[in-house]
Symmetry: C2
Subunit: 393 residues, 2 copies
Amino acid sequence: MRILILGGDGYLGWPTAMYFSQRGHEVAVVDNLAKRVWEAEMGVEPLVPIRQLPTRIKRWREVSGREIALYVGDIAENHRFVYQLFDDFRPDAVVHYAEQPSAPFSMADREKCVMTQRNNVLGTLNVMFAMRHACPDTHIVKLGTMGEYGTPNIDIEEGWLELEHNGRKDRVMYPKKPGSFYHLSKVHDSNNLEFACRIWDMRVTDLNQGVVYGIDTDETALHRDLCTSFHYDAVFGTVLNRFIVQAVLGQPMTVYGRGNQTRGYLNIRDTLACVELATLNPAEPGEFRVFNQFTEQFSVNELAARVQSVAAAMGLAAEIDHVENPRIELEDHYYNARHSALVELGLVPHLLTDAVLAEMIDSVVRAKDRIDPELIMPRIHWRMRSPARQGGD
Amino acid sequence: MRILILGGDGYLGWPTAMYFSQRGHEVAVVDNLAKRVWEAEMGVEPLVPIRQLPTRIKRWREVSGREIALYVGDIAENHRFVYQLFDDFRPDAVVHYAEQPSAPFSMADREKCVMTQRNNVLGTLNVMFAMRHACPDTHIVKLGTMGEYGTPNIDIEEGWLELEHNGRKDRVMYPKKPGSFYHLSKVHDSNNLEFACRIWDMRVTDLNQGVVYGIDTDETALHRDLCTSFHYDAVFGTVLNRFIVQAVLGQPMTVYGRGNQTRGYLNIRDTLACVELATLNPAEPGEFRVFNQFTEQFSVNELAARVQSVAAAMGLAAEIDHVENPRIELEDHYYNARHSALVELGLVPHLLTDAVLAEMIDSVVRAKDRIDPELIMPRIHWRMRSPARQGGD
């Protein structure tokens, strides 16, 4: 298949490109490389330096003998680029990661909130129209997030909900309660895409993905220049990465609030497998298909205890500290999210075993000298009380 | 009260400004005047020419002895303007009409779709942040549309839905199924605003308004220069206006499709009364309050029959024609939308009586020589098959 990866410079986009390339697909990646600027603005960087995208593509050619095509441009700001891209590559499938991916970034100030929704929502609209123009039967696999749902007091279904109200029935889009302007941008995307299914018979799979962990895939492991980004900072990092880095530093692991916040998690290897399953089993014309893409639910406290236990066995003593929660979210809540559709398509999960945790800890130990401890604690607060921002723009 | 009207040049914004001004409130209007360009792009114009906004404000001063302040600027493109505006005027209430208001316009092509979502969604975000900065306790009354809900097979509630699923209960945002990129922009706004209530304790009333009809209010009737726009064209016009213009021309009234599409309708006088009721009875801090703002439900066929009957009594013979529906929408569907909250606050509806219809027909007869019959039939199709647009941008 001809597979176009939007956001191919990112943590997931780059491994996805290699994964499909390794399996014989013709792959092109697209990126505006903007995350490099966003990282610079926030003063953060991945634990291990990431080579420039053309360098990685060259190294991939040397290692695998396979070509990945590269298009550099901005899908949100330059629609002519998007149209030319689709006219040129004519993909059989599109995997869309090309969005600003951080909730805290979107909550930093007005400019970053507006930029996030502009980039994500208008970029996706441009892609929809370009596909309508160049390849209306092509399937788009769009990365969303489990965070779109929030933490409702009812079971979370996969995108749609059969409901009965006053004795009548309907099937509706599952009501969402997103927790940041970033999460909202994904909800806006989902609503726009569902409409395109109704009016254009577009084929859409919306992957509501949990929190991804993991550093290596089969392909990143082939050469050190092929590695993907590991963020432990408070802007682009995730909770498990933070705990591991803190454990390696011998610092207390900082749980936000009471720590009973429960979410879905998955290994980066399963992200690639899920995206492959969605791509090889496309949605029907007019179908807005939603998969909840995660393999296990954990509370923050459970994750902290798991890291503490594995780290202890490796001789690393890590305390657990509860700190003020910078987010506004329920800290004690019901959480039961269905995630059976991808398993039914054949997903065999890589679970978060002690061995997986030990491997991650080991990787971080090897890069310990590059950790900047000052990047770990949150500086962006959901109420936007941050003094540097207060009252200004 | 100090009341800021965003979108004060528009069909509803201008009468709302005069209405509050007449009742002793201190009123300022804001507009970027962009609808003038959008009308020019589509080659359409209101039936009766609308004086420039400064001229109307001057005439209002002469007629009423009251001042309306004017700020010209773009809330979506110029956030500094928005911040300065709020710092300067410090409103007690904000009434937000400043959005691209046409579903067909948003469906014309990629550029107009993206422009609509950019203008509406990012403009509202700028207003939210400016209010957070300058007047965080101020109530915003935001104009949405009943079209956000679509035509679900269950009763439409006022913004929120109490539901039970697998034996558990929650109160959720009512699931929506908007019918155009314009309607989607309003759904995105609602989702962004509901989040702002949760994180900033913002006070929000979201008015999901039905289709507004009517030409005159008490204030527009005071001087011919104070009149507001009447659109009968296929882009900015509404179905009732179209039927009246067709009846006056002696042309068949064109029903899209089978004509059983049912929607909520209200008189422009009731729009003003509803906005006043919402403004004088503000939402609580942190409350995202939704009112369904309409007074009666009609199907398109019912409206056509009503116009036909009243026109006949005035000596105008009007046939009813069913034409191909340019939209993608259900033409036979359940529709039962709750609209009791505004009545409970004191709304006394002006219903669509024969006298009201006769008055509208009479107004159009007086301006008959300005009607351009070529603007009536739809040129924008939801499947975007229009040859001029197909394959291009």
